[in-house]
């Protein structure tokens, strides 16, 4: 590999060198150490968004998309060659950016500590390709959303303004002062970007290239390989290296648990890991695509994932988080795994001996242990099609959005007429790894889709796994909601019976 020139990040239009920066230094600490103290640290674990900045990322087609990221999680080194915009770069007190102006005049800041982060998340949505004012009829629906009929379908806090602003863009930003209402009003009052807005214009040009990077410091090295072959070679030489994609898990390890790596290999820009292809019998999703990219790229083609995404962390996190990282972490409460189990997906591993495929169900061998060899990495997952028609993702958590699951249940059922032909159920949070609820599947398959079947199978489901007691939920609750999950699905799929069920 041939590292680029002097590592440098373009921040608010100005190149700032990375030299002297340790590879373990987060982008947030690095920006702040350079005097750009607008971005704040509220948690250092991706939860509060006070550290949000905008990064120029590849958009749809060949353009660029301003993407908000948690700067507390990504290594500064990973921004080599990239373009970053912070609240300071958007506007000045004398010339406020439209986002800043709306927030300021509507009381969107009280203590102001969360505000620069909100500004960046909001600006990214302001510039989102495809954000456009709703047409009249859609607007009526948005307005009436408070009315009883319309609001059944509406998700709180995640509505959409008449200006096309999706509030979900702010799901990863916490504010302890305002109670959010003025921030929502500011978001919904935003106009279209002006014709001469340079950041809007930037979107039509190509994204920054992913430079090959080498940064060395006291704690170790950060390397961004030029291509997959380079990455595999490097991994072969250093089987203990840490692979980092979106860094939404690794960043937390670094910040909260003091993890340091002798070698970090940055995978997030590798073209070979960033493809999405839709075939006749399989949909292949690159391991290093961000979940936001996957969500937009799939455009609803896998309804189960479409139901999952809004419940997965926040927009800020999904802008970084990858499927490869979710599998790499292998957390028993990870949300993608139950869904991939229900979808009967395969993991594509690649290494010095080329690709091999492993069913997700066979991938994990124990608590955070998998069949992946030290010299392999996850290249993609493959989801077989056609998909089961009835799907649902039930995530039980304290907070509706951006919370970790106490229990997650993914359903993919094929109900033919009134009979359950095939049932695939993935469970999270009930064992050392995500598991298939095989006994429940058996209790459903071949049986009529009726209240009786559902209740009998629900009893079986309640007994699957061995949920634990912890600060998120008691074991009794986990078990109980496993038990209500099938009746809930039944009620969702047959709403007519609601009153009598």
């Amino acid at each position: 590999m041939t590292p680029g020139l002097r590592p440098e990040v373009t921040v608010n239009g100005v190149g700032i060198g990375l030299d002297g920066t340790d590879p373990a230094t987060t982008a947030l600490d690095w920006l702040r150490s350079r005097g750009l103290t607008g971005a704040k640290e509220g948690c250092a674990e991706g939860e509060c968004g006070a550290c949000a900045v905008m990064v120029a990322r590849p958009g749809a087609d060949s353009g660029t998309e301003w993407t908000a990221l948690n700067s507390c999680l990504v290594p500064a080194a990973s921004l080599d060659g990239q373009e970053v915009v912070t609240a300071e770069g958007l506007g000045t007190p004398e010339r406020l950016h439209p986002v800043q102006r709306e927030l300021a005049r509507r009381g969107g800041s009280q203590c102001g500590f969360c505000t620069p982060g909100f500004v960046c998340s909001m600006a990214a949505e302001y510039y989102r390709d495809g954000r456009q004012p709703l047409d009249e009829s859609a607007r009526d629906v948005a307005d009436d959303a408070v009315d009883d009929a319309a609001d059944e379908a509406r998700e709180p806090g995640h509505g959409c303004g008449a200006n096309g602003f999706e509030l979900e863009a702010l799901s990863g930003n916490l504010c302890r002062c305002t109670g959010y209402r003025p921030i929502r009003d500011a978001a919904f009052a935003l106009p279209e970007p002006a014709a001469d807005d340079p950041l809007a214009a930037r979107r039509t040009e190509a994204p920054p290239r992913a430079a090959a990077t080498l940064l060395e410091g006291d704690s170790g090295r950060y390397v961004r390989p030029v291509d997959l072959a380079d990455a595999i070679a490097l991994l072969g030489e250093h089987p203990g290296a840490v692979l980092v994609a979106g860094s939404t898990d690794w960043g937390v390890e670094v910040n909260l648990r003091g993890a340091r790596a002798a070698l970090v290999i940055g995978l997030d820009r590798l073209a070979e890991l960033r493809a999405l292809s839709v075939g006749n019998d399989v949909i292949e999703i690159g391991a290093a695509l961000s979940l936001t990219e996957v969500e937009r790229g799939l455009a609803g083609r896998i309804p189960l994932l479409d139901k999952l995404f809004p419940q997965f962390a926040s927009r800020l996190i999904r802008n970084g988080a990858t499927i490869g990282g979710n599998l790499g972490t292998g957390s028993p409460i990870g949300d993608l795994l139950p869904a991939l189990l229900a979808l009967e997906a395969d993991v594509v591993l690649t290494g010095p001996r080329g690709d091999r495929e492993v069913a997700v169900a066979d991938y994990f061998t124990g608590y955070r242990r998998s069949v992946r060899r030290p010299d392999e990495l996850v290249r993609a997952v493959r989801v077989p099609v056609p998909l089961a028609p009835v799907t649902a993702f039930h995530k039980i958590a304290k907070r509706r959005y951006d919370d970790i699951s106490s229990v997650a249940v993914a359903f993919a059922l094929d109900i033919d007429g009134d009979v359950v032909r095939r049932a695939r159920i993935g469970l999270g949070g009930v064992a050392a790894t995500s598991v298939r609820a095989r006994q429940t599947e058996a209790a459903l398959e071949g049986r009529p889709w009726t209240v009786e079947t559902v209740h009998a199978a629900a009893d079986v489901l309640q007994g699957e796994g061995t949920p634990l007691d912890d600060h998120r939920a008691s074991a009794a609750y986990r078990r109980a909601v496993l038990g209500t999950s099938l009746p809930r699905l039944y009620a969702e799929t047959s709403p007519r019976q609601e009153a009598s069920a």
Binding site: A104, G107, P116
Partner: protein, 818 residues
């Protein structure tokens, strides 16, 4: 109308303007304490060594290995303290402890050239501990009789006799949880020492004077050798009233010992594991009602979880006792209070300061008893409202009780509550798995520090020769908009445009001996002091103007940046008059002072009139609960709240909305879980990070959120007719909890009384639904007992001493403060 409260017709006060720093906030230019060190040369960073035991003796502290770590400069220990090794005002909080009193207690601090060096140094410090038995719940503390501080009793009439005569007597228990402040900006300080040994500490503190006091006593210096400045805080909520002092002292100690600036900033996990929180409480109660639902008597014992040291636990408890009545007339009352001593962080002030906990008790009583009485909960609340002339249990006449009624009725009307109640009933009839409910609760909250001495404030106003004005006052800005209001007060009093006035950061060398910016009193107290200073300046300018304009002195009017007489043609520009006054050698600056008159409070007897006035409000909250999971959402909230004549409507509405959502967080999502096991993790906070301790996010914001300020609400005797707003709205969120209770009850047969754990997490609501349906479920608190004389709450030991604060003793000695 008093001069203090009367307001000129069109004035900067009352204008709805953005926060004075809004443009700096949104552009990332507003500086916070931890933004300063990158702008400072040669800074050292401090990192704590936190103990992994709830209770233990430090048997050996070996710091040498830390000094081997590259970049480590020094380790601070108890031996380094030249003054008093204590971080509290009560001398029960060793700054460098030899006995670990809670899991995560910092035993020493490492200074490094970088934070990373200090962190690695802290890992290298060797500490030996001898673990000791620990108490980690209030119930354990009660059993072990582990209490601290005074045990106040608030009593009126004869509860026993009244209960014997009551038609209905119910008894119950309630465990209500604490709350982490989770100000987005964690605790931080930056300390310098100058060539003369003068210590300058920039601290994120709500109470700069006390930070100064503690820094001085730790360093063994007089207060004049220490200056504390607070630029602004990224949130405080009471968590920076007492908590910042120790961290400021560690930074200052490091700076004096090394001669270099020292920066100390807690990470989120350090902050959450080391700093105090809202007190959780255990309450036992019995209450008597007549047939019509009138509360006749309340007998309760409240035990707060004080944590390892007293901190503000006594005044918090006093305020809790003073708010068990909320807005309700209760003829006979006995409330006992005690403070459990547990091996946890030392619990402290948090928005509402015990008031929310006290109120929650009576609202829990009403919410649980209503179905048993067969009375609609809103109706039960309404019939018990105070009426004119009635007194609180502590003997203060309730002024303006009709405002609670007005708020309530306006919420009913504006919220279309009657029509919605019918819609909810039909929705519930049509849905088996989802239920909705709407609950109303009132708030009556007393304004003023219970500690009389704190009800004073100072200001320093400078008018420069060019007519520009600089305001200093003793209050701190934490997002509540105090500085915005002070600018409005100064501009109004001086009759100049807002653009002529600037505010300087809060510093102890500008305005000394300040009170904490707390108890919602910041604008009342500092506003009156700013106004006083401005008026002194005007008094000196009047003769100058009178002479220049040839009009009588008392005809001179200052307004809109000019000086003249009412209706008169001839005016002089403010700047010209000021300049003339300067050449006439007129003093153009003044120190203002204010003390709240008419307060009387005897903590020992828990009797008097501790509050200047009461703030009122009412909220109606509609929720929807999913029976499958217990998950819920806030469909709609309507609030009418009394802020007097608002000084600044945008700020006030922001406080109401923000307070409500924060209160809703306390009562629903926010779940402090301490490890109660007998493993080595005992006493560890299991929810010690943002990923496990969940604040309300956008998804918890009420879908429809209407807030109105009560109209025609002039408050006589308070600055420009306004009222405090910081704390009271938080308690409006009790309506969320009550709505959840009612929605859970809707899953059961009519008349179901629901016990709901606090916080009402989805899991707690799930079990409440299960119980309402008669499906069993986890028992959470003691079930409601009906009949007889009830279960008598545990009565404190006869020898327990009442509250007897030093401030009151000292004030009596000198005869002042009464």
């Amino acid at each position: 109308m008093t001069p203090l409260s009367s307001r000129p017709a069109s004035s900067p006060v009352g204008q709805s303007i953005p926060h004075e720093s809004a443009a700096l906030h949104v552009t990332g230019r507003a500086l916070y304490t931890d933004d300063l060190w990158v702008r400072t040369h040669g800074v050292l960073h401090a990192h704590p060594v936190q103990a992994p035991h709830a209770h233990a003796l430090v048997t050996r502290l070996h710091t040498a290995p830390a000094l081997e770590v590259p970049g480590v400069v020094r380790v601070l220990t108890a031996d380094d303290v030249p003054g008093v090794n204590d971080a509290g005002a009560k001398l029960d909080e060793p700054l460098f402890p030899s006995e670990v009193m809670f899991f995560g207690h910092a035993v020493c601090w490492v200074l490094g050239e970088s934070l990373e060096a200090a962190r690695l140094g802290a890992l290298a410090v060797e500490v030996d501990y001898e673990p000791l038995p620990s108490i980690v719940t209030v119930r354990q503390a009660i059993e072990a009789e582990s209490f601290q501080g005074g045990q106040p009793r608030l009593e009126r009439g004869d509860v026993d006799a009244r209960l014997a005569a009551a038609a209905h007597v119910f008894s119950g228990e309630l465990d209500l949880a604490g709350q982490e402040h989770f100000y987005l900006e964690t605790q931080c300080a930056l300390a310098h020492v100058d060539e003369a040994g003068q210590v300058f500490v920039q601290s994120s503190t709500q109470h700069p004077t006390e930070t100064q006091d503690i820094v001085a006593h730790v360093l063994g210096l007089a207060s004049h050798a220490v200056t504390v400045q607070c630029l602004r805080m990224g949130g405080g909520f009471g968590g920076k009233e007492m908590q910042p002092h120790g961290y400021a002292a560690v930074a200052a100690l490091g700076a004096t010992l090394t001669g270099r600036p020292v920066r100390l900033r807690l990470t989120r996990s350090q902050d959450i594991t080391m700093t105090g929180k809202r007190h959780g409480f255990h309450a036992q109660w019995r209450a008597g009602f007549d047939e019509a639902g009138h509360l006749l008597a309340l007998d309760a014992t409240l035990t707060s979880d004080g944590g390892w040291s007293l901190d503000l636990s006594e005044p918090v408890l006093a305020r809790a006792l003073c708010h068990v009545d909320n807005a309700y007339w209760i003829p006979d009352v006995r409330v006992n209070g005690r403070i459990a001593k547990t091996h946890k962080t030392s619990q402290t002030a948090f928005r509402g300061f015990g008031g929310p906990q006290g109120m929650l008790v009576v609202e829990d009583v009403l919410g649980r008893c209503a179905p048993r009485l067969g009375i609609d909960p809103s109706e039960l609340r309404r019939v018990n409202f105070y009426r004119a002339g009635q007194q609180t249990p502590y003997g203060q006449t309730v002024r303006h009780p009709e405002r609670a009624v007005t708020c309530w009725e306006q919420v009913l009307t504006d919220g279309g509550v009657a029509a919605r109640a019918a819609q909810i009933a039909s929705f519930n009839a049509a849905h088996v798995h989802t239920k909705r409910a709407l609950a109303l609760t009132p708030v009556k909250f007393g304004i003023s520090f219970n500690f009389t001495a704190f009800n004073q404030a100072g200001a320093l106003v400078h008018v420069y020769k060019d007519g520009s004005v600089l305001v200093n006052h003793g209050g701190t800005e934490m997002g509540q908009g105090l500085h915005t209001k002070m600018l409005q007060v100064a501009a109004t009093t001086l009759g100049v445009p807002l653009s002529s006035v600037r505010l300087a950061p809060t510093r102890t060398d500008k305005v000394p001996n300040t009170s904490a910016t707390a108890a919602s009193s910041g604008a009342d107290l500092n506003g009156a002091a700013v106004k006083d200073a401005c008026e002194q300046i005007l008094d000196r300018l009047r003769p100058v103007a009178s002479e220049r304009l040839g009009v009588p002195v008392d005809a001179v009017v200052f307004a809109g940046g000019t000086v003249g007489v009412t209706g008169g043609e001839q005016v002089v520009a403010w700047g010209d008059l000021v300049s003339q006054a300067y050449y006439q050698r007129v003093q153009l600056w003044a120190a203002g002072f204010y003390r709240t008159e008419g307060l009387h409070w005897d903590s020992t007897r828990m009797h008097g009139s501790p509050f200047k006035y009461f703030s009122y409000g009412a909220a109606a909250t509609e929720v929807e609960v999913d029976g499958f999971t217990g998950a819920y959402r806030l469909r709609r909230v309507d609030i009418v709240h009394d802020v007097g004549d608002s000084l600044s409507a945008l700020v006030d509405i922001g406080q109401i909305e923000g307070g409500f959502v924060q209160g809703a967080g306390w009562l629903t999502l926010e779940d402090l879980r301490w490890d109660e096991s007998h493993t080595p993790a005992r006493g560890r906070l299991a929810t010690a990070s943002a990923s496990t301790y969940k604040l309300p996010s956008f998804s918890e914001m009420p879908e429809v959120f209407n807030v109105a300020l009560l109209e025609r609400a002039h408050e006589d005797g308070v600055v420009y007719g306004s009222k405090a707003v910081g704390e009271p709205p938080l308690m409006l969120a009790i309506s969320v909890r009550e709505a959840l209770r009612q929605a859970a009850a809707a899953f059961g047969p009519p008349g179901t009384s629901v016990e709901l754990a606090s916080p009402a997490t989805p899991e707690a609501v799930f079990w409440a639904v299960r119980r309402a349906r008669g499906d069993g479920g986890l028992p959470q608190t003691a079930p409601l007992v009906e009949g007889g004389l009830g279960v008598v709450p545990e009565q404190p030991d006869a020898t327990a001493r009442p509250l007897h604060p030093r401030s009151e003793q000292l004030a009596r000695q000198t005869g002042a403060g009464d």
